[in-house]
Amino acid sequence: MVSRRDTVLGYLILSLAALVSLGPLIGVAILALGEPGRVGIKLDITKATNFGNFAEVWEKGDFGPAIRTSLIITVIVVVVSVALSIPAGYAFAQMNFPGRTAIFALLVLGILMPLESMIVPLYLDMRRFNLDNEYWSVILPQIGFSVAFGAFWMRAFFVQSARSLMEAAWIDGANSWRTLTQVLLPLARPQMLTLAVLFFVWNWNDFLLPLVMLSGSDLQTAPMALVTFEGARRTDFAYLGAASLITIAPVVIVFILLQRSFTRGILAGSIKE
């Protein structure tokens, strides 16, 4: 049934779509390597050799410390959120206890909740406890949002894991903790990796929360550094292009390396139930 014409057409359509997706990013890469400081913006690939732009921007935009801050926050959030999502998802999937459905519904509501709807009291409370302008003021709410999705995601895995496997572990005398850590977790590695990639991308890109929480301090995340830099040099487009690429580089690297895990996470939404 698959005719040659259809296949050629398929490649054509997909290539065109991929070009539309990548075009602006390729354009920015050429821009970022172009001549700095020029207002008229003509792309010239033959002159795209100014690698010094990146060093310049790295220095002037304080991207070193910003990337460091972002890494500290994101790595802690990813590790803790994955670690807390696993036992929660396990209990929701495999144990019976009063209030299970209600608590789960409450937690899953967090997937839908926009940060905008609670940023005001969140900030007031952080300030009251003198936590604003600290790493924790960003880390803790990010973990809170992440585990809402994480518990949901890990539950979907544990619901499906073979019951006979768990029964066997139990008959062998393993308690629920050992069943989880020694029997089920080794099987859950792909799901954990997907979760980690999703958490990394979401929390690295997050802007509103660090903007509100850290604006009174020297701390800034990479997206904050980009926006600050952008505010100072509205039309210095070669530098702005370089700054954008620096900001997105860690996520793009993680995404390309673990592309399969990420797409599984998004596409799995269409497979659930």
Partner: protein, 308 residues
């Protein structure tokens, strides 16, 4: 997914369990497993959310005493044209973030249902990339593309359509559609990849049967492709509509709500009212109204997905 291929043989011993309890521990231990996640969620997501609803009935700057004003803040959202326009803009953005990408995705995916593509991983990576990178960076990049002397206008001039060139983001008519088209760019690849994965799962026999019944391309689409993609469409709708309603970063960087108030959206007003003009109650009401809209729209989508 691959979960059906678990090594079930490891659990092959069929000793009947004495009690129907797996794993064999008192079930109240479940609370211990849930507690750490639940505590952080409750303290930093759920409690602030409830607190925000409470604050939405007050007026004040959050430092000195707050004055109870009942539902005045909500009445304001309906009465005040600027606040109301934020929600109108958010709904308009749904067209760009959701409807346009889904229309494009459906068109391309149904054109592709008969081709077997190799190297899907490469295409997926490319298509997903706009969805993965930081919205702040996307905003900076597109502010350049749409700049008065930027690549878009140069391109229009180069192909003889110079009269169409605009200061896109500075124009009262064009600012919102311009910001919206950035959303279309972010979302269309994601939606296309999603629908493509779905269309590959529709059995080819269904298409053959439709053709034998004399169905043209349009009937084929209506009778086979569309019903076969129902779950993917629900997921695409949820992801894109929620993103459209929550749009903060793009607006903050690209237009700051301007020119005038042409591109203000609810999440931008929450930030502005709370942290620029210190109207805590009004900001909280805006945030609460936003979540109500998001929940209502999501319920609508999931009901539509189940119904037809």
């Amino acid at each position: 997914m691959s979960l059906t291929s678990l090594p079930v043989s490891a659990g092959g011993r069929r000793t009947p369990s004495p009690r129907k309890r797996v794993p064999g521990e008192p079930r109240s231990v479940a609370y211990l497993y849930i507690l750490p996640a639940l505590l952080i969620y409750a303290a930093f997501v759920f409690f602030p959310f409830v607190h925000s609803i409470y604050l939405s009935f007050f007026e004040g700057n959050g430092i000195t005493r707050m004055e109870f004003v009942g539902i005045d803040n909500y009445v304001d959202i309906v009465r005040n044209p600027i606040l109301r326009s934020a929600f109108v803009h958010a709904l308009e953005l749904i067209v760009f973030y959701s409807f346009l990408p889904i229309a494009i995705g459906l068109l391309l995916a149904s054109a592709l249902h008969r081709s077997r593509i190799r190297g899907v991983a490469f295409y997926r990576t490319a298509l997903f990339l706009p969805y993965v990178i930081a919205p702040t960076a996307i905003a900076v990049i597109w502010r350049w593309i749409l700049a008065p002397r930027g690549p878009l206008n140069s391109f229009l001039e180069a192909i003889g359509l110079g009269f169409l060139a605009q200061p896109w983001l500075g124009d009262f008519t064009w600012a919102l559609p311009s910001v919206g088209l950035v959303g279309t760019w972010i979302m269309f690849g994601l939606v296309l990849a999603l629908l493509l994965a779905g269309v590959q799962k529709i059995p080819t026999e269904l298409y053959e049967a439709a053709r034998l019944d004399g169905a043209g391309p349009w009937m084929e689409f209506r009778a086979v492709t569309l019903p076969g993609l129902r779950y993917e469409l629900v997921v695409a709708l949820v992801l894109t509509v929620t993103a459209a309603l929550r749009n903060f970063d793009i607006i903050y960087v690209m237009t700051s709500g301007g020119p005038g108030n042409a591109t203000v959206v609810p999440s931008y007003l929450v930030y502005q009212q709370a942290f620029k003009v210190s109207q805590i109650g009004a900001a909280a009401a805006m945030g609460t109204a936003l979540i109500l809209v998001i929940i209502a729209v999501n319920l609508l989508i999931s009901r539509a997905g189940r119904a037809d």
